[in-house]
Amino acid sequence: MIDVQHLTKDYGAYRALHDVTFRVEKGEVLGFLGPNGAGKTTTMRILTGYMPASSGTAKIAGYDVFTQSVEARRRVGYMPENVPLYGEMTVRGYLDFMAKIKNIPRAERKIQVERVMESTRTTERSNQLIEKLSKGFRQRVGLAQALLGNPDVLVLDEPTVGLDPKQIIEVRNLIRGLGGDHTVILSTHILPEVSVTCSRVVIINDGRVVAVDTPDNLTRRLRGSEAIQLEVRGPRAAVTARLQSVPSVTAVTIASDGRSDGVTTYNVACELGGDARELLAAAVVGGGFGLLELRQAGMSLEDVFLKLTTDETDTGSGEVAA
């Protein structure tokens, strides 16, 4: 549904995105996770056609966001960061206007507006001026606006920022409910948020995609295992058993096979703290196998995680400072 290929964006001399590539399948809820300034908003602005990429392509439902911009935009509901709204309009007036520029036929407009207000629970405030609304309600109006016209793709930039815990849970439930019918891509810098709402996560840091995985796998990696990659010559079963005998090793997986010379690449997960590399090397050599390579893998991911907000409780204060 969303196909991003080799996206690069330069702001003058500063390169905000480096060769970003990822795909989102229909009905998926994809989390776009990264610390502040990683390039999440830039990616979303390119996807929604707000600004062009310096190079690379992005397609939404097969339409290029740059060359077939209007067609692509028709299929996207977008909620920008900070949710810019027209303060002097009422909630209903605003949604009605958005429905018009989304080209929703007159007959359907009223029904759609009622429907999105219902699903975001803004009906009770429908006749209030937007500028008088609390942050939480504005956020919901922003979401309601994105849902108008039942777009195939929803792009939500930091949808839970500035909400109180109860509202956060509501919005997350709402987003989770959107998967299936809609393809959702949401950005966040809060780690637990992706585990509750997303089926897949793209981690981005300094404009580069660092990892693409399911939230469970990512949390497992975060829980602190250190990944070490080895290339060893020798019978697989024996080598695996030998590696597992090292005390701090928690899992051994085979990363590649199909090499005729008996060399296999193993991914070894170890407990965090205490470098297991020496022990592993000793174990391999001691067992009489040939050690061709041994290196630490996945460190960059750890670095990203360090920068992420992992604690739900400090999101509020962290956001004020940001």
Binding site: G49, M51, P84, E88, K100, K102
Partner: protein, 239 residues
């Protein structure tokens, strides 16, 4: 086209909920009403001719305040991002914004229609209808040109005050360029005289519709709107 109407309608509505627009309209009616009565008492003529040339001066001060918000505020508050990421083409935004402002200007002009009404009721003999109609046409055309320039200025900045001051500066230069003509001599003087709004306005209040003048004002509108469109597209590239 529905997008243009939607944007224009929203813009027009937002004028009517904005205190600025009410203050401007009140001020406009106060000044023009004052001028109307003073001119009428002094000349004892049932004509709006002298009032029309004064309305041109009032536009000079009022239109920057009407247009300063149009695009500057959208880009300051970020609402432009939502507007441009919806299936709305750039020219539809420009045209919609412009028509919204023009609609408000027409509303202000409509508020002055009781002046001719008074003249028709109390004027002896009945005033001449022709010059009144052409005068109003001139006032509207001039206002339309000023609004287009104001929209252009508003697209160049995020700051409303900057937009207003820039608009006023451009309008003042256009307004005064006729008087420059007398100093700079023939070829250059002809150019500045042609560019001056004053020289193109006079005929309308005399009851004459000269196509050169109509073309002049309409070309300002077209040129300014086109430049606004470019400025909006350039923003997309820069952002």
């Amino acid at each position: 086209m529905t997008n243009v109407v939607a944007v224009a309608e929203r813009e027009l509505k937002s004028y009517f909920v904005s205190p600025v627009a009410y203050v401007i309209t009140a001020l406009f009616l106060l000044i023009s009403g004052f001028l109307f009565s003073v001119i009428l008492l002094q000349s004892n003529e049932a004509t709006l001719r002298y009032l029309f040339s004064n309305l041109g001066v009032i536009w000079l001060f009022i239109t920057p305040a009407l247009t300063m918000r149009l695009l500057a505020e959208e880009s300051r508050s970020g609402t432009i991002e939502l507007l441009l990421t919806n299936p709305v083409r750039d020219f539809e935004v420009v045209l919609g914004k412009y028509l919204g402002a023009l609609g408000f200007l027409l509303f202000m002009v409509a508020c002055t229609l009781y002046y001719p009404l008074l003249l028709f009721i109390f004027g002896e003999p009945d005033p001449d209808v022709g010059p009144m109609l052409t005068g109003y046409l001139g006032v509207i055309l001039q206002g339309a040109a000023f609004l287009a320039i104001g929209l252009l200025a508003s697209s160049l900045t995020q700051n409303q005050i900057v937009a207003a001051v820039l608009t006023f500066a451009i309008l003042l230069i256009l307004w005064l360029s006729e008087s420059v003509a007398n100093f700079v001599g023939r070829p250059m003087g002809d150019v500045t005289r042609y560019l001056s709004t004053t020289s193109h306005f006079q005929d309308f209040s005399r009851g004459v519709i000269d196509t050169t003048h109509v073309v002049y004002f309409l070309s300002i509108v077209a040129a300014a709107l086109f430049l606004t469109l470019l400025s909006l597209q350039a923003r997309r590239w820069r952002a």
